[in-house]
């Protein structure tokens, strides 16, 4: 390497393709609603498994599934509903035998903090004062699917759908309500609890089936053994208090 151009090329190639060495990097794709809880759990897991670094990828469960289906190098997948995990299982993306439920949640209707006369029942969303309602896009966001099924069983979907402002994830729906760009929104109880100064829970919405969070290691993952240990960790007594503190219920 005597000439400058060769040195420049070598530098660029090494920078782009050189990998920082780490004993073990565990990549976890988790539903957006798990952001805060998982960020707190990571140091606990890293302490129990020295030399490990946990890397997170948070997004709507549907979006995460698409990434994994198209080959994203992920080791663990934690989704916010069973349907997305079922799809992952059908496509052979996860180790079905290692699939476990580790938490549960509930659906709430929230309004911006300054809003007067909050709804006391779902049917109140019919009122003309509710012009925009933030709901996760049902095709890819679990909280949107739960919301749609609840509204459909209540016969309200036809009236509410035209008012729907689609959110790409539950956290975006939360953000829309926190900024008061919408009149109401559907998020999980755990998300609403993160912004008590900006949003208030108008009512807890019962869902036809429990909101359960499944987790599973990815089939053929680079860090198979570590992935299984992470799943076991989520179910262990060490993780329970952290999840509970954020409002996640037992599975």
């Amino acid at each position: 390497m005597s000439s400058l151009p060769s040195r420049v090329v070598a530098f660029v190639v090494l920078t782009l393709f050189g990998v920082a060495a780490s004993a073990a990097d565990l990549t976890v794709s988790a539903a957006a609603s798990l952001t805060n809880a998982f960020r707190e759990l990571a140091p606990l897991f890293e302490a129990a498994q020295p030399g490990t670094r946990v890397q997170f990828n948070f997004a709507a469960s549907g979006a995460l599934l698409q990434q994994i289906a198209k080959g994203a190098p992920v080791d663990v997948f934690a989704s916010a509903d069973e349907e997305t995990m079922d799809q992952a299982q059908t496509q052979g993306l996860v180790k079905a035998s290692e699939r476990r439920y580790f938490a549960s949640n509930s659906l709430v209707l929230i309004v911006p903090n300054g809003s007067t006369n909050p709804p006391s029942a779902l049917a109140d969303l019919n009122r003309p004062t509710y012009r925009r309602v933030a709901i996760g896009v049902p095709a890819s966001v679990p909280v949107g699917r739960y919301t749609k099924s609840v509204l459909e069983s209540a016969g309200l979907w036809g009236a509410v759908e035209p008012k729907m402002i689609g959110a790409q994830s539950v956290r975006q729906a939360l953000d829309y309500v926190a900024r008061a760009e919408v009149d109401a929104g559907f998020v999980y109880a755990t998300d609403a609890a993160l912004m008590p100064d900006k949003v208030k829970v108008a009512l807890t919405v019962p869902t036809p089936s429990r909101i359960l969070y499944p987790v599973a290691p990815i089939a053929g993952a680079a860090q198979s053994a570590l992935a299984e240990r992470f799943v076991a960790f989520l179910l262990s007594p060490a993780a329970r208090p952290v999840l509970a503190r954020f409002g996640f219920g037992k599975p």
Partner: protein, 224 residues
């Protein structure tokens, strides 16, 4: 697949209005910057060019803060006119216009600077008023350069994603432009829809480029 045509129509509408807005603002401000010298002109030029280099999400955030219900402009609009800008196609137009403004502004300024001032001086001596000089001398001479900038601006507005998603959301038929529709289709695993949308978008872009080639003739042949 109907959604693809709706998204295409909406994308053309948003890009069209954004380009029209940039035509007025870009040409006007480009002319002013080309002709008037004032202290701090370079700084103003840099600020006006910023939207071209800033990440669209940063721009989207600035816009959200400004025209959101709690923002200075948004609150005024809400209180005075009862208008909520966020999640409307007008917000999509503003986002597209802001990101593509520098393209028209820069081209217009360069085009006006290339107009020989002696021609304008001659018109002045012959008795034309300033406004008439602008429309009958400066603008026709600068027109080719401005048009090139407008076409680039239209193409940029067609593809705008980050800022639009932040201030206009993704409401099918109202603010879901082609690029946002592709994003959502991929997220939902609807590859067929995504493929069709991408095809429609690519064809639209090719049409824009072909039109550009027709309206703005290429370089003068060196053999002439």
């Amino acid at each position: 697949m109907d959604s693809a045509w709706i998204a295409l129509g909406l994308t053309l509408k948003v890009a069209g209005w954004a380009t029209a807005l940039n035509l007025l603002l870009g040409v006007g401000i480009g002319f002013a910057m080309a002709r008037w010298r004032f202290p701090g002109r370079d700084a103003v030029d840099a600020v006006l060019t910023l939207p071209m280099v800033m990440p669209p999400t940063v721009l989207g955030y600035y816009l959200l803060v400004l025209i959101g219900t709690h923002g200075p402009i948004g609150a005024w609009l809400l209180n005075r006119f009862g208008i909520r800008m966020i999640f409307t196609w007008q917000a999509a137009v503003i986002a597209a216009a802001v990101v593509s403004f520098p393209l028209v502004f820069k081209s217009a300024r360069a085009a006006f600077e290339n107009v020989d001032p002696q021609l304008e001086e001659a018109a002045r001596i012959l008795g034309l008023r300033e406004v008439a000089i602008f429309f009958r001398v400066s603008l026709p001479l600068a027109w080719r350069g401005i048009l090139a900038g407008l076409l680039l601006s239209f193409a940029r507005a067609l593809g705008e994603f980050g800022a639009t998603l932040m201030v206009a959301g993704s409401i099918p038929g109202k603010t879901q432009t082609l690029s946002i529709a592709v994003y959502e289709a991929v997220q939902a695993g609807q590859d067929d829809t995504a493929n069709f949308l991408v095809l429609v978008t690519s064809l639209a872009c090719v049409c824009v480029l072909l039109t550009a080639g027709r309206l703005v003739p290429g370089h003068v042949s060196p053999r002439r």
